[in-house]
């Protein structure tokens, strides 16, 4: 099975959902014309990133009676979509979220499970922590979604792999930092390295959509990537420029790679669980 995956490397208006929705619809149209089957938008693509006190004001419910999601669900009749937004649950907790939409239906919502609250980041102050990492079925196979800091930790991608995801859809609003004499920012180098590493370690497709633009002095660097199950770069968006990056995905590459390298077959989950239980029980080790 083959599909055309598209990454929407966009700039956003901070706190202006209506303006961002129009941009989404325009890019969905563009991706559809280009033959895309699945279009992935970056983290918080409908709202902008450094929301602070705007978080509650821009929050949505990803349901068909929500006017924003109504239009996105309609658009998902033509191609599958991943969009980033603030999800307000029934108890009025606000989550950084990604929604997978297909054929007019909401397929899955992921709530960001790791909220960076250090250095320049302050997400834990404004958002609730997600509490689940689940893979889910799509018309292209089983996939998983993670948001930025989620994949700076090794465990969420690992859990998705064990839960059956053969394609990881990663989204970011990654502020650029670490300008040196090197060819790219340190933050860009790090994200590219771990994306490639996950593709190699999990013999899976790893797609990463990162935004561009500025919010006050923060700069988002783009450079969206798609790696195949061999860890080969299939496509890369430019740094710092808006646009759609297309990648042809041949799902049969999973068959070929895993015939050569049966890391998934040999993964010893019972051993992992046994050791995790022992480590978790030993308060001197790691009790979280």
């Amino acid at each position: 099975m083959k599909l055309t995956l598209a990454l929407a490397q966009i700039n956003t208006h901070l706190g202006d959902v209506a303006a961002n929705l129009e941009k989404h619809l325009a890019l969905i149209q563009e991706a559809q014309t280009a033959g895309a089957d699945l279009l992935v938008f970056p983290e918080l693509s409908l709202t902008g990133y450094v929301l602070q006190d705007l978080a509650s004001a821009v929050a949505l419910r990803p349901t068909s009676d929500n006017p924003v999601f109504q239009r996105l669900l309609q658009a998902s009749q033509a191609l599958d979509l991943v969009v980033g937004f603030v999800d307000e649950d029934r108890r009025h907790r606000f989550f950084i979220a990604a929604a997978y939409l297909s054929a007019g239906e909401l397929v899955h919502v992921h709530h960001k499970v790791y909220l960076p609250t250090y250095g320049l980041f302050d997400e834990g102050r404004f958002f609730a922590w997600g509490d689940a990492v689940h893979a889910f079925d799509t018309r292209f196979g089983r996939v998983g979604m993670l948001i930025c800091e989620d994949f700076w930790h090794a465990s969420p991608p690992y859990l998705l792999w064990l839960d059956g995801a053969d394609m990881l859809l990663l989204t970011s609003a990654s502020p650029g930092r670490g300008l040196t004499s090197g060819p790219q920012l340190e933050s860009a180098r790090w994200v590219e390295q771990i994306n490639q590493a996950y593709a190699s370690l999990f013999t899976a497709f790893v797609a990463h959509a990162n935004r561009v633009g500025y919010e006050d002095g923060l700069h988002f660097w783009g450079g969206s990537t798609v790696y195949d199950p061999n860890g080969e770069l299939l496509a890369k968006g430019p740094y710092d420029q808006e646009g759609i990056t297309l990648a042809e995905i041949d799902m049969n590459q999973l068959h070929r790679t895993r015939a050569r390298l049966p890391l998934l077959r040999d993964e010893r989950t019972a051993l992992v669980l046994r050791e995790m239980n022992r480590i978790q029980a030993d308060s001197r080790q790691f009790g979280r």
């Binding site: 901070l14 706190g15 602070q52 006190d53 650029g176 004499s181 060819p183 919010e215 006050d216 710092d240």
Partner: protein, 273 residues
Amino acid sequence: MIDLTLNTDLARTILTGFVHSEISRVGFARAVIGLSGGVDSALSCYLAAEALGPQNVLAVRMPYKSSAQESLEHAQLVIDALGVQSLTVPITEMADPLFERFPEANPVRRGNVMARLRMIVLYDQSEAFRGLVVGTGNKTEILLGYTTLYGDAACALNPLGDLYKTQVRQLSRAIGVPEAIVAKPPSADLWLGQTDEGELGFTYAEVDQLLYLLIDQRYSPEECVAAGFDEKFVAAVVERVRRNHFKRVLPPIAKLSNRTVGYDFLYLRDWGT
């Protein structure tokens, strides 16, 4: 190994993008810059001209009667090289009545008055030219507090504030700022023969390396001494950074209500854009 070298192409892309974004998103297309003849304001002017187009940049020269002729000439080099719009507004006639009223004013007071008069001229031109004031302060002087609050520190956006002086020089050379401007000793040009390094008591090359360890690499003062820096120098710089922090933050507001600007009323400046 302390290496402050930058990928100048990447710096240029990020900084011109920043200037364009932060000006255009609030409905402006133009910039106003005070051009002193020094390397910092020259670099800001180059970045703004590249980001907005030279016709959309107004470079303002604001000499006092004691300013060096060379400073005016160096500013003119930048204006001619870029083709930006320009204006010369001497501040002597504005400054002298105050200096005559307070003849005892020391060089610090006089320097602050001049810096703040230049701010008044720039913000007046900001309204007249419909452009935002682009700052010229670098990371070294912001950390050391070697700047006049509400004077040269006043601006609407600052593309240079995360570049050490050493890095300002490197980027300036890469972007084509005339060598005469990059190579000369930095000076606030308040009196004849004044230089930054003479007044500060150390060179930018030395202090940039120390600040890089203290700030960027989070070294403790003791670790800086162990890395080879003089103990008194380290202590003086650490104290200087702390003592001048007031110049880097907004004035504290006394909290009374449940929601107070600065504490729990939190939005970026780019809110809604």
